[in-house]
């Protein structure tokens, strides 16, 4: 059971599901004065960034 939970956590991290939480934590620590984008804004912005560079190979 423990193994399955860990596998799921790993897959979540691989899929970037914790990216927003990590970002918010970092922003609050580094720049507490700056506004934090919503999860949807963050998601869209990350996608635009990701697909503007070669990220899938032949």
């Amino acid at each position: 059971m423990n193994v399955l939970v860990r596998l799921w956590r790993f897959l979540q991290e691989l899929a970037g599901e914790n990216a927003y939480a990590v970002y918010c934590e970092g922003m609050r620590a580094r720049h507490p004065e700056r506004p934090i984008p919503t999860e949807e804004e963050f998601y869209l912005e990350r996608l635009a960034e990701k697909y503007a560079r070669p990220n899938r190979c032949c």
């Binding site: 599901e17 960034e49 990701k50 990220n55 190979c57 032949c58």
Partner: protein, 694 residues
């Protein structure tokens, strides 16, 4: 027992372990080399490959990490220094490994080995293993390291800063040209896999609305919940794989999804254009998640399947086509085996990934060894599995699926008679039975590698699970799996190509460089899609099936990029004062230059019309001039002549680009080595790492 003797014990344990791995690997290689006339079991190849990988990783990559590049776990990486929670994020090394592997492993390592199987299993297998350990992995590792030391800069920027502006511009220009050929050839593979296949076409068509549904879920319903959406999408895709059978069996529905290669090519071009201008969240990103998980899962299942079934290889070690007369592609082992298999052995495209997102995520320099060298070993293993899957087919069936109609004809009796006369017996009945088993109308002349790979995968899967009556489902699952991520490559590639072209053209006219200016977006998008669309259409209309001319172009292009990356790597090693170790990148680079130059020369000037583009153009011109071409075919033949000359021109361009990069780098090397120039490395400053671990 005191600590000293415990250490000595562990040391001897390690020596014993690595000796055992070496002996096992050598034994398996020996068994492969000595088995000449009897079929061998795939396990020998798997064991030999894995032992070579283990030894390569343990010893060679360690040598490169410690002696050559001196990776330093105490030096902060860009992920740590520039951590912004967006681009630069220190990430768990296994997650980085997963990302990197998912990014480098595409259709290439599956298709190349399948096509190269026409030479027998031996040449391709040896090249996949040695090419990866000594070339491909080294390239990926060195470029990743170089980019980590330079704040995650791209290959083009590094070429410009470390070698010179000429190399930098050549890099950008080559990358765009390579992208166009790459996209054309993968689109051709999908077209050939789906032609006259209502089941496959229906399944792939369904992935478009499924991906859009996932996109809406991910944006509006549960933002960023990628796993849930992927599971949902996967269930729907499996339902459409199974549902495809009913479509194929119903005459009315089947007619809606049955197309010839020409119409499919036009639809794929239209799709590529639409997809490259649609918002990313709606189609590209969700399908990318889906295809990544399906890809990782299928590769994992294939490995399990091969271990469970332990199939015999029906293909001989060497076929008669080592003489260069093969029906799948023309040309002898040297140089054509080495450009047919690019991905899986050495793939230049990886250097773009190694200098893309990955260097911005790695928390420790030392982990570049596992991520860079290790991921490529795994991709090479995917290539080995593809080779096994292709070689479990009876050679007669393999050749019937992969030989274009232009060579064996369209009549089943004549085609099977020709193939049997080569010494690989097959009958029209065998082919009919094969088509029925996998739920297709015909399996003749399904060139490109995807259908024969799918038959091989279905063979292995159905022997593991489900037996013969699931063969058709597994076949269409495999076709869906290949087509799904080829479409992702097409649409991600068109988008990236558009950005690169905008970047390039922005130098000449500023507004074209703005990614928010809609006319510029439309113009550059159209240029990229019509670029690959043109070559795709040319391939579809080619009586020899297109793969024969386009795949070698793609291989040459990909190895050109690898030569460029290894050139940049060599320059950096020399500037680091490591000239005595420069052979690490220089040797594979020289090999690739030799391979690409020979292949390019033969593709241009070989007198055999199936190999040389110009010879084929001359042969066709001769036919037209002597009045042997019927009046209604003259226009088409003229186009073929033009296309062959165009392909010769593109080949010449690639060959010249390799030489330009080589000359520009060599000038720099000699200037440094003869102390006429003080080497200046453009590395980021040294900052000690505050992160624990190594």
């Amino acid at each position: 027992m005191n600590a000293e003797s415990a250490n000595a014990g562990r040391r001897w344990g390690r020596v014993a372990l690595w000796s055992a791995v070496s002996v096992l690997g050598a034994g398996a290689l020996g068994a492969i080399a000595l088995a000449r006339n009897e079929p061998i079991n795939a396990m020998w190849i798997i064991v030999a490959a894995v032992c070579v990988y283990l030894i390569g990783y343990r010893f060679y990559s360690r040598f490169i990490a410690v002696r050559v590049m001196e990776l330093d776990s105490a030096r902060a990486t860009p992920a740590e220094r520039l951590d912004d929670g967006r681009d630069f994020v220190p990430t768990n090394k296994w997650v980085v490994f997963g990302h990197h592997f998912a990014a480098i492993a595409g259709p290439g390592p599956l298709m190349g080995p399948t096509l190269a199987a026409q030479l027998g299993y031996l040449p391709g297998t040896l090249w996949i293993v040695t090419g990866a350990v000594l070339g491909g992995c080294v390239q990926d590792f060195v470029i990743l390291f170089a980019s980590i030391r330079r704040d995650g800069k791209s290959l083009g920027q590094m070429a410009k800063e470390e070698v010179g502006p000429l190399a930098g511009f050549t890099a950008l220009f080559s990358i765009v040209s390579i992208l166009i050929i790459l996209l054309a050839v993968v689109a051709l593979v999908v077209t050939n896999a789906l032609k006259a296949s209502p089941w496959g076409t229906f399944t792939l068509a369904m992935t478009i609305p499924i991906a859009m549904l996932m996109g809406i879920y991910l944006r509006f319903l549960r933002p960023g919940r990628v796993l849930e959406a992927s599971i949902l999408g996967f269930a729907l895709v499996m339902a459409s794989v199974i549902g495809g059978q009913y479509v194929a069996e119903s005459p009315r529905l089947a007619s809606l999804f049955t197309y010839d290669a020409r119409s499919l090519a036009l639809m794929i071009i239209a799709y590529g254009f639409a997809a490259s201008v649609l918002p990313v969240w709606l189609l590209l990103a969700p399908r990318d998640y889906l295809s990544t998980f399906v890809k990782l899962g299928t590769i994992f299942l294939l490995a399990i399947g091969i271990l469970v079934v332990r199939p015999q290889l029906a293909m001989p070690a060497l076929t008669r086509f080592v003489d260069g007369t093969g029906p799948v592609f023309a040309g002898s082992i040297f140089p054509f085996c080495f450009i047919t298999i690019a991905c899986g052995a050495v793939s230049g495209f990886h250097s773009l990934i190694s200098s893309g997102t990955t260097p911005k995520l790695i928390p420790k320099e030392t982990q570049a060894r596992m991520v860079g060298y290790g991921s490529m070993l795994l991709e090479s293993f995917v290539g080995i599995m593809a080779m096994v899957a292709a070689c479990v087919l009876q050679p007669g069936i393999y050749f019937a699926i992969n030989s274009p109609a232009g060579i064996v004809g369209t009549d089943p009796v004549a085609a099977t008679a020709t193939i049997s006369s080569w010494g690989y017996s097959v009958s029209p009945g065998d082919m009919k039975q094969m088509a029925d088993t996998v739920g297709e109308q015909t399996m003749f002349a399904r060139t490109g590698g995807a259908p024969s790979l799918a038959v091989g995968i279905a063979h292995i899967f159905s022997n593991t699970l489900g037996g013969r009556h699931l063969m058709a489902i597994w076949y269409h699952f495999a076709i869906m799996f290949e087509a799904l991520f080829i479409l992702t490559v097409l649409d991600a590639g068109s988008r990236v190509g558009r950005f690169m072209l905008q970047d390039l053209l922005g130098h000449f006219w500023r507004p074209l460089g703005r990614t928010s200016w809609y006319p510029g977006v439309l113009l550059t998008g159209t240029l990229i899609v019509s670029g690959w669309g043109y070559f795709l259409y040319q391939g579809v209309m080619d009586p020899l099936g297109g793969i024969n001319s386009l795949w070698p172009l793609f291989g040459i292009a990909n190895q050109l990029l690898a030569s460029l990356a290894l050139c940049v790597g060599t320059t950096i090693l020399i500037k680091m004062g490591k000239a005595r170790y420069a052979w690490v990148t220089l040797a594979p680079m020289l090999w690739l230059v030799l391979v690409t130059q020979t292949a390019a020369y033969q593709k241009m000037f070989h007198t055999d019309a199936r190999i040389g583009f110009l010879a084929e153009a001359d042969r066709l011109s001769g036919l037209v001039a002597s009045g042997q071409v019927p009046a209604d075919k003259i226009a088409a033949t003229e186009r073929l002549i033009f296309n062959n000359r165009l392909d010769a021109g593109v080949t010449a361009l690639f060959a010249v680009l390799v030489l330009v990069i080589l000359a520009d780098s060599a000038r720099e090397w000699f200037a440094i080595l003869s102390r006429r120039k003080v080497p200046v490395l453009c590395e980021a400053e040294y900052v000690p790492s505050a992160l624990g671990g190594d």
